[in-house]
Symmetry: D2
Subunit: 288 residues, 4 copies
Amino acid sequence: MLNQPSSPATPVPHVLLVECPDRRGLVHEITGVLLRHHCNVTSNHEFVDVEGNRFFMRTEFTGEVDAASVVNETKQLLPEGGNARLAQHGKRRVVLLASREHHCLADLLVRHAFDELNAELLAVISNHDTLRPFVEKFGIPFHHVSHEGKSREDHEAAVMALLDTLNPEWLVLAKYMRVLSTRFVTAYARRMVNIHHSFLPAFVGAKPYQQAFERGVKVIGATAHFVTEQLDEGPIILQQVIPVDHTHSAADMAQAGRDVEQIVLSRALKLVFEDRVFLSGNRTIIFD
Amino acid sequence: MLNQPSSPATPVPHVLLVECPDRRGLVHEITGVLLRHHCNVTSNHEFVDVEGNRFFMRTEFTGEVDAASVVNETKQLLPEGGNARLAQHGKRRVVLLASREHHCLADLLVRHAFDELNAELLAVISNHDTLRPFVEKFGIPFHHVSHEGKSREDHEAAVMALLDTLNPEWLVLAKYMRVLSTRFVTAYARRMVNIHHSFLPAFVGAKPYQQAFERGVKVIGATAHFVTEQLDEGPIILQQVIPVDHTHSAADMAQAGRDVEQIVLSRALKLVFEDRVFLSGNRTIIFD
Amino acid sequence: MLNQPSSPATPVPHVLLVECPDRRGLVHEITGVLLRHHCNVTSNHEFVDVEGNRFFMRTEFTGEVDAASVVNETKQLLPEGGNARLAQHGKRRVVLLASREHHCLADLLVRHAFDELNAELLAVISNHDTLRPFVEKFGIPFHHVSHEGKSREDHEAAVMALLDTLNPEWLVLAKYMRVLSTRFVTAYARRMVNIHHSFLPAFVGAKPYQQAFERGVKVIGATAHFVTEQLDEGPIILQQVIPVDHTHSAADMAQAGRDVEQIVLSRALKLVFEDRVFLSGNRTIIFD
Amino acid sequence: MLNQPSSPATPVPHVLLVECPDRRGLVHEITGVLLRHHCNVTSNHEFVDVEGNRFFMRTEFTGEVDAASVVNETKQLLPEGGNARLAQHGKRRVVLLASREHHCLADLLVRHAFDELNAELLAVISNHDTLRPFVEKFGIPFHHVSHEGKSREDHEAAVMALLDTLNPEWLVLAKYMRVLSTRFVTAYARRMVNIHHSFLPAFVGAKPYQQAFERGVKVIGATAHFVTEQLDEGPIILQQVIPVDHTHSAADMAQAGRDVEQIVLSRALKLVFEDRVFLSGNRTIIFD
């Protein structure tokens, strides 16, 4: 990793993450715990999802603090079904899954190289060998697990076996063009982020950009989302669009799609790896 | 209409509109016609839809010109299946269809009052009487054609009878919340513009903003499109989005939707009423 | 005012607004007050401006509550130099100042007519009589205070005398094209919102759109800001841009400017009139 | 360079670039030349800068054509002061100048690696050695020309001597943080592209993001422009903004600035290196 030191004097803050059924007094009581421990709160967000009656809180604090006790005392005052934890210090352990397209992958490799992602990239796994030379420039292990001549089941088993040895906290589908089985998705549900081309209106099926071109869409979008058992229906982290017009061919629209996918995935991962994203049912609460 | 005179000295240009199957030499030959007639070209756009092999051209010109001859000579050199015409001078004759929501309607009434639309609003027709006082402020006739106690067929027949007397060139569905029959749509196909809430991804069925909220979308969009026999599948004129986040309730998202609908519909109509929009299959070619 | 009733059953919440020098424990103590009074908090935002060491809080709550006591008890626990207050119920009393351009004014009149602004428009004052018929359609008093044949001082004195009789809480400069004296600005500092065309880079002096055209800018923006003694240097509430290109004439850029000004001013006022905007030095804190 | 072959069958089109004082009949006559030579026009743009009375045309054509004759015949029919040329085949020869910031540089290196830029990167020259390991990963020569202990004049002379040996067509200032002398600028005027942080309103002087923070701006922008003798006043190629709010520190705003700079510079260079950008006085005409 290239050295791009952040300002060395800043103490790394603790990040307290709380979610629970909402009830009156939670903020008062949790801030009471923080006060008693002389925490120096540097950033604080709460949100109540009124429909789901669920409370979310993310608090950064510094100081010579017994953080474990802060968490324990917070836990004790939460209603049943709630949880409190400290975000781990150190980087998230991440594996990227890719196929042949480089755009999202390259952006993540660069950001990782300059330490902008709060992530340690353990490896790239791909069902094609195309991107190996590029990935290896960055000193990241590249694993080619070909799907050719293998059943879907066997190929996925090979990928999962490799993942078992790597033991990542997060999987990122950086244009991984394989349909995942329920078994795979379940194993990594809510720990897997996907980037999805998505249009206004959304086009399903093959050749989405050809469809978009034929309908003459005027914006091209991308959606970063958690993968859940419902695949593309998982909670949305980030969406963005860029404008196109009739002078754009289907190929131009695909290029626009790649550009916006790259931006959206990188920003979404930054949010996730800094523990700024909570799940509330099928929605995300984002403390940006 | 309030007087907001445009600079009076500018001569109103002729607008020549051409579309035909593409073949080599069209631009050369059409510009030849314009030259021979000493037209002073002040704006010119061409575009070839390569997939559809179709040529489009929009040329503004001024001068003491026999415009009818320009058109006739142009027509004669076009391949079979082509057409040339002059955009009519004067404003487009337009009827607005609305229901109870005011946002799109109000924006159009204001722009019309200050002569920004190149349109004469002949009337507003609504299946509710709610917006009458607002519309009548602007001196525009308001026709309440209630759907209550009527079959869909009878209600639509009443609207169509009224339209027959008004004889508009264009219909604008400014949040008209009635499903139109094939008969109605066919009568006004390609002469009717609709504004459609549309999301990334698109949500169908009732309560789209509730669905959008539940999925936690991060952008809210709107699409202005021509209505064809396929209803919401018609060629897209304009699309735009605005960002939302988890702090937006379903009601907030609906408000954001109204804001973007209003902007998109007004801009789309300005393009249409200035003859800047061509249809190419299910796409629009827009010479902005 | 046209009736567009909001859902009648929703109780109007109290809005507690707090700002003070930051110190440890504020959130805990203020939420303690709210708890003791059995307030039902429906929305809560805090923010610490670290550079200015200043704490801001906006809390909506409902319930059968002695709101005056909530405020008094909150005040007592704040550090010196702090303040707490309840946002007034009812609409903000607002006067609009305009000249000859209608776009911002018209949008505000429409939103007011449909009760979307949390404002009562007391009057429009203009140095031209041009917009009178449009304003009077909406039943809003229109005062023409001509500047012709008057010194700047005398004209301003006439406007201020009129304002004294109207006694507004807020002034909105909706494209009021007069330079204001320090005396005027001081009288309404921080209670006056202006909409400013502003570019990347900003162009000063006459004919800004001509300058923008000559530099070939690619975006046109607008800034809504509070007016302070530094005139155009006051705290920014909202900024937005729209793209333009070389096909846009200076007149087209001016039209784009009007469109974005209208959007930005309306959104900014909605934020201000709902007490969502705090001032922190020359910055705004916006609890959206 | 990594291989990412474009579809091999597509013939590389010729690109005819014309600019001249406007006069009647130009399009007709130039298309006449193209017709006589049996050129197959695949894309065509013209634009008349009415204020400057200047005509611009960019035409892509394929076919077994004597392209040199097309150019010569076109030249002969142009008014005095006009010019026609074929865009060169092959990539533009480019040198990047950088300092210590990696974001723009890295994005260009990645796009170059996947052959998305129509450019051959000859070298990176920097006044710091910081980015050497990153640049060399990509197999691009890195030249450290330190400014320490050197007069501005001597440092610039060293850079210019190096440039003489490299002989680039284009220089890109990818966050090169040195003020250039008139001598340097003159030598590369209109062949040098710079990326400039720029705000609404623009902040001059040191620490622009600190200034932006203190004013509480709500959008952060970037401008890619040609460098002329007027340095930051050169013709604008592309501008874009991203939204920020009060929760963004000056450091966060700087990060937002880096993100938008990277996007804007890459897109601007793509346009320039595909000969889609004409200069008209201090404006750019962009045939996108």
